[in-house]
């Protein structure tokens, strides 16, 4: 037990490693790029971007949806996998939840930069005001977005912070001087008493119950930004679950990228094992297949419907001027996750890292394809145009990646990146002592099964998949 505390607190208590500094500096450069590009955009207006009359929505909304989607994996891991009793989530949930928060923050920056007058951002909320009966348009899916995302952010933040309490207290108890004061403040006086733990677990379960519908609702509402419209290629009923699956797909890819970096940089190979990585690859494969199924359904129904506008929209995607974007999307999102059927590939770290990046690229292109190819050839052929991004389009996007990684680097430096308390609990249930206790009680020997996180009889089982996380 004490080893776990030492291992996980080490990055927090010690001086940052060289790898951390390199990562931080690069991320910080990105953050500066964002400050410049977003600052310029807010100063001169969104004319700084490459938008035009026909394509009035392009990189901004593409990147916004991309970031919101990435956030989903964290909530899925922390809430849905908790409800499904998937104990293996314990060593990855902390960083995944943090990632959710940072991704949602990045997404929110797009809403702010996209507003002509960002200082009036609160006009998006239905606040009583002095302008007579001036209310937000409740019919607009964009207003639903405001509610969905702010609720999502709040619940995710609570979930993450409450989960952190026992671990912050651990750091507090080991710290000295000013650090002890700061960690002491944020641990909210956690004592570790039985009463605290009982309440802690009850709250976590309630929040998991609340967060589960939120995982579905957020991207459902985001998909409705498009699907409630009349634009061919946007208006299709499969959008809500398809966006949710896509969000989880891209989110897991991002968690995978981050964890592979984190375990290396912070030397957490004993906590984030090959077994975790394999399971996440399987989730990537499953959600990738769901997304693939949705792509094919859309194509099929566009043909089946007999509606020529629908048919043209999809033909234009496949073979129009943006064909390359469509085929990048298909290759990255449909074909590449299928490679995870092979055990050799899904347990290969370098390959996993490569695919996780490929999936993130593919999912960015998915949104780009949906948004730009549907808009750029609209109902009036005389206004058909192409979209060309400017420096500020690219700057805001690349910069937001910098914002994300800066926040993440700060997080892993100052807070425990693995949920210590929960990992310890896992160890306790699967430890030798626990097994002996059960063996003595019933005259049988059991072993812990890494496949299910449960117990099986040792005498009839030799199954061993992946690595054990004992």
């Amino acid at each position: 037990m004490h080893d776990i505390t030492n291992d996980i607190c080490k990055p927090v208590e010690g001086k940052p490693t060289k790898a951390w500094w390199i990562g931080f500096i690069f991320s910080f450069i990105g953050l500066c790029l964002w400050l410049y590009s977003a600052g310029y955009t807010m100063t001169v207006g969104i004319g700084a971007w490459g938008l035009n009359k026909t394509v009035g929505w392009a990189w901004d909304i593409t990147s916004f949806v991309w970031w919101v989607g990435i956030g989903h994996a964290g909530t899925l891991i922390s809430a849905i996998l908790l409800l499904f009793r998937q104990n293996w989530r314990n060593s990855i949930n902390r960083s995944a939840e943090a990632m959710t928060l940072f991704a949602v923050i990045c997404a929110i920056t797009y809403i702010i930069t996209h507003m002509g007058r960002p200082w009036l951002f609160y006009w998006a909320l239905p606040l009583p005001n002095q302008y007579g009966s001036l209310w937000v348009n409740f019919n607009s899916a964009l207003v639903w977005d405001v509610f969905a995302i702010s609720t999502y952010f709040t619940v995710s933040l609570l979930f993450w912070y409450i989960g952190l309490l026992p671990d912050i207290a651990t750091v507090r108890d080991r710290a000295k001087g000013v650090a002890k004061k700061i960690y002491g403040f944020f641990s909210l006086g956690w004592t570790g008493s039985v009463r605290s733990w009982v309440r802690f677990e009850a709250v976590c379960l309630i929040l998991a119950g609340l967060a589960t519908p939120l995982v579905l609702s957020v991207h459902t509402v985001v998909s409705m930004d498009f699907a409630t419209s009349l634009v061919p290629g946007w208006h299709t009923t499969i959008f809500p679950p398809y966006f949710v699956a896509g969000a989880i797909f891209s989110g897991f890819a991002m968690v995978q990228t981050l964890l592979l970096v984190m375990r290396k940089a912070m030397k957490l190979e004993n906590y984030i094992t090959l077994y975790h990585i394999e399971l996440m690859n399987i989730i990537i494969m499953v959600t990738g297949s769901i997304v693939g199924c949705a792509y094919l359904t859309e194509l099929f129904i566009a043909w089946y419907s007999g509606v020529e506008y629908e048919q043209y929209a999809f033909l234009n995607r496949i073979s129009g001027p943006y064909w390359w974007a469509y085929w990048i999307m298909m290759t990255c999102n449909v074909i590449s996750p299928q490679l995870m059927w092979f055990k050799k590939l899904r347990t290969n770290l370098a390959f996993t890292f490569f695919i996780s990046i490929v999936v993130n690229i593919g999912m960015w292109f998915e949104r780009f394809v949906i948004i730009v190819t549907s808009l750029h050839r609209d109902w009036l052929p005389s206004s058909w145009v192409m979209f060309h991004p400017t420096f500020y389009d690219v700057g805001v996007f690349v910069g937001s990646i910098g914002v994300f990684f800066t926040l993440f680097m700060v997080f892993i430096k100052f807070l425990p990146g693995v949920a210590m308390a929960e990992v310890k609990m896992l160890l306790k249930n699967s430890s030798e002592a626990a097994k002996k206790r059960m063996a003595a009680k019933e005259g049988k020997t059991y072993r812990f099964s890494p496949e299910t996180g449960g117990v099986v009889i040792a005498t009839t089982t030799t199954a061993k998949k992946g690595e054990n996380h004992e």
């Binding site: 959008f239 297949s289 949705a294 089946y304 419907s305 099986v456 030799t462």
Partner: protein, 400 residues
């Protein structure tokens, strides 16, 4: 806990009732045909047969998911969905017969299968239908429907075989094989089932289309299948079987039914909301029909029954742990999804001539009897527990 294997005996009242229900069904269908109510009878045959196929394959999907997810908790009830698998051949053959005879007598799918619709010379020429004939034609349609069910059925047969062989031979060989077959089944089934739903149900109204329709049917399949599993497990436990099943298992089944009724409602509302909001004539016709006086009540009744009822009744932890509550809510969900299918089939087939009477009730009871008879016969042919399943021990210790 030491596992005492049990053997289910299918006899007595249950057997008599299920046979009586089959008789009721046969009589009602016969009366339907004899009194000249043919269209309505075909509609009912299609509806109930499709429902039977859904629940039978839900059993396969449940098993397959338990295997690939390596779920341990439900191992001691695994024989129930495995019994559903042995209904697959009969359900598939019956559906094939209904479709073939229905198409042959022009009672089913005449809105697209009539060759005059795609003949430009004919006065009833319909360019939209004509554009679909390369896919929606009778030989290809039958090939797809039969082909899909045959492929899925192969996996159903294999998965049941593996588990039965495991009883005699033990070891991990069949368990591991089961995982491989389950993974392949999940991939094939979930990719092809939407097409199956488009073919069998959506094409009743061939002008209408919705990308969600396949997943909508999949959600219905899954939740009604879970409810059917729940109903069998709780009924048997009431009769004194399944002593190794405790309230934690019942709780988990309840949670499943609760969660997936919400999921079904999510899919249902997403489809409806998007079509209603956009209000495009091509799409809105489907709901327009269902919101006319003839169907309005039944449409919302079905939604309330499918969503609010299980949502409210299964909200608390205690209700999901009570045998009786779980049993009746599962029964309710099964009936509710019959109404869900009723709303998918009838407006397309019967138009405003909607009826609800002896035929609807009788055919449903007949198929329910048939399914019960087949599934329980299969259940009685094998021990009630897959005793050599490697996760049996975990299941016996299940506690939440």
């Amino acid at each position: 806990m030491q596992l005492q294997n049990e053997q289910y005996e299918f006899s007595g009242k249950t057997r008599t009732i299920s046979l009586a229900l089959i008789a009721v069904g046969v009589i009602c269908v016969a009366v339907g045909f004899l009194t000249g109510d043919t269209e309505r009878t075909w509609a009912n045959l299609l509806l109930n047969n499709y429902y039977m196929v859904l629940i039978a394959f839900a059993g396969v999907m449940y098993c397959a998911i338990q295997y690939v997810a390596q779920a341990g908790w439900g191992t001691n009830i695994l024989r129930v969905p495995q019994a559903f698998m042995s209904v697959v051949p009969l359900a598939a053959i019956l559906l094939t017969v209904v479709l073939a005879v229905g198409l042959g007598t022009h009672q089913l799918y005449h809105h697209w299968a009539d060759p005059a619709l795609s003949n430009p010379e004919s006065p009833s020429y319909d360019p939209l239908i004509a554009g679909k004939t390369s896919y929606m034609n009778v030989p290809l349609f039958m090939l797809r429907v039969v082909g899909f069910m045959a492929i899925w059925g192969f996996f159903a047969w294999k998965l049941r075989q593996f588990s039965l062989k495991e009883d005699f031979e033990g070891g991990l060989r069949y368990f591991k094989k089961g995982i491989v077959y389950s993974a392949i089944f999940c991939a094939i089934f979930n990719f092809t089932f939407p097409l199956f739903a488009f073919d069998v149900i959506m094409s009743l109204e061939p002008h209408w289309f919705s990308t969600m329709f396949g997943w909508y049917n999949l959600a219905a399949l899954w939740v009604s299948g879970l409810a059917a599993i729940g109903l069998v497990v709780t009924s048997l436990k009431e009769k004194g079987y399944f002593t190794a099943v405790n309230e934690n298992h019942i709780h988990d089944i309840g949670k499943f039914v609760f969660a997936f009724s919400i999921f079904w409602a999510y899919i249902f509302v997403a489809q409806m909301l998007l079509i209603w909001y956009a209000n495009i004539p091509e799409e809105v016709t489907w709901f327009y029909k269902r919101w006319t006086e003839t169907y309005k009540f039944w449409f919302w009744f079905s939604f309330v029954l499918n969503f609010f009822a299980p949502f409210m009744l299964f909200m608390t932890r205690d209700s999901k742990r009570k045998l009786k509550t779980v049993k009746y809510v599962c029964l309710l969900v099964i009936v509710a999804h019959w109404f869900d299918l009723y709303m998918m089939v009838m407006p397309g087939m019967m138009g405003t001539g909607r009826k609800f009477g002896y035929l609807e009730l009788g055919t449903f009871l007949g198929y329910a009897g048939l399914f019960t008879f087949m599934a329980l016969t299969a259940l009685s042919k094998a021990p009630l527990y897959a005793k050599n399943h490697p996760y049996m021990e975990e299941s016996l210790h299940h506690h939440i």
